[in-house]
């Protein structure tokens, strides 16, 4: 009994002592910073910017090539196309050239549009507000463009193989479509996640 009393007396004043301010947490840190100089996001931003500029140059060059290919006297040049194994050869006609350059321009233009959207999404991330309806729209556009571009490549190769240059190019099988379909699905799922994130953000804004 007597031994217990001092213990309780010692405990009771401790309850009145105000809590100490929280000490900074010392623990295992993530290997990379997410934002700021030298972070993963800054590296991603550089990669996006470089790829965007490169794609702009490539698309511009292809557009110029597309315009000039309208006026090139192809019949005089006598150019032939063949497949990689050097099998059947076919003269390069104007429709074939226009189709090829046009398809390439559309391909790179599509990826340019995807990168433009990604850069805009990234801009919202750097200002700390990525969950907004605009990003949902951008991600859906990315998914749509990705589907059109990859589907377009598949169809274009089929058209070239069947009509424009039979024997020169082999049509792609359905197996080639699996990876693009998977990528498009991933992007659309991400868009839905962002839509829910934007809804939650709006709801938390309107919670008083």
């Amino acid at each position: 009994m007597t031994a217990d009393r001092p213990t309780t007396e010692r405990k009771s004043p401790a309850r009145t002592v105000p809590l100490l301010p929280k000490m900074p947490r010392i623990g295992v840190k993530a290997p990379f910073r997410t934002l700021g100089p030298g972070s993963v996001s800054s590296l991603l931003k550089i990669a996006l910017d470089v790829a965007y500029v490169l794609l702009m140059i490539i698309t511009a060059v292809l557009l110029l090539l597309l315009l000039t290919s309208v006026f090139i006297p192809i019949a005089n040049l006598n150019i032939t196309v063949s497949n990689d194994e050097g099998g059947r050869q076919q003269p390069l006609t104007r429709p074939l050239l226009l189709f090829g350059v046009g398809a390439l321009t559309a391909y790179f233009g599509g990826f340019l549009m995807i990168l433009r959207n990604l850069r805009l999404i990234f801009r919202t991330l750097t200002i700390g507000d990525p969950f907004q309806p605009g990003n949902v729209r951008r991600l859906r556009q990315v998914g749509l463009i990705l589907a059109v571009v990859t589907g377009g490549v598949w169809v274009a190769q089929g058209v070239v193989a069947a009509r424009l240059a039979p024997g020169v190019m082999e049509p792609q099988g359905f197996g080639e479509l699996l990876t693009p379909i998977f990528s498009v699905l991933v992007v659309f799922v991400l868009a839905e996640v962002f839509r829910e994130g934007a809804r939650l953000r709006r709801e938390s804004e309107l919670t008083i």
């Binding site: 949902v136 809804r199 709006r202 919670t207």
Partner: protein
């Protein structure tokens, strides 16, 4: 909106301005305006407690239910 916030009436009865109430409750005037105009989606218990404390009322005095069409979904506002 089916839930009305009777802040206007209570402020008139208490002869208190929105700015004064915002100061006392510790909420910005902008947020209190959102609550007053019925645009708020939710009210925290801590805010409700502070409002009742400063206006000397019960939660039932602040909130009332009125039958009406359901409020639009946040998704519809985005679209």
């Amino acid at each position: 909106m089916a839930i009305k916030v009777q802040l206007d009436r209570l402020l008139v009865e208490r002869r208190m301005s929105l700015t004064e109430l915002a100061d006392r409750v510790g909420v910005t005037v902008a947020n209190l305006s959102i609550l007053k105009t019925g645009k708020a989606r939710a009210v925290r218990f801590t805010t409700l407690y502070a409002l009742c404390r400063e206006l000397d009322c019960q939660p039932g005095d602040l909130l009332s239910y009125e039958p009406g069409p359901p409020e639009p979904d946040l998704d519809d506002e985005e679209a």
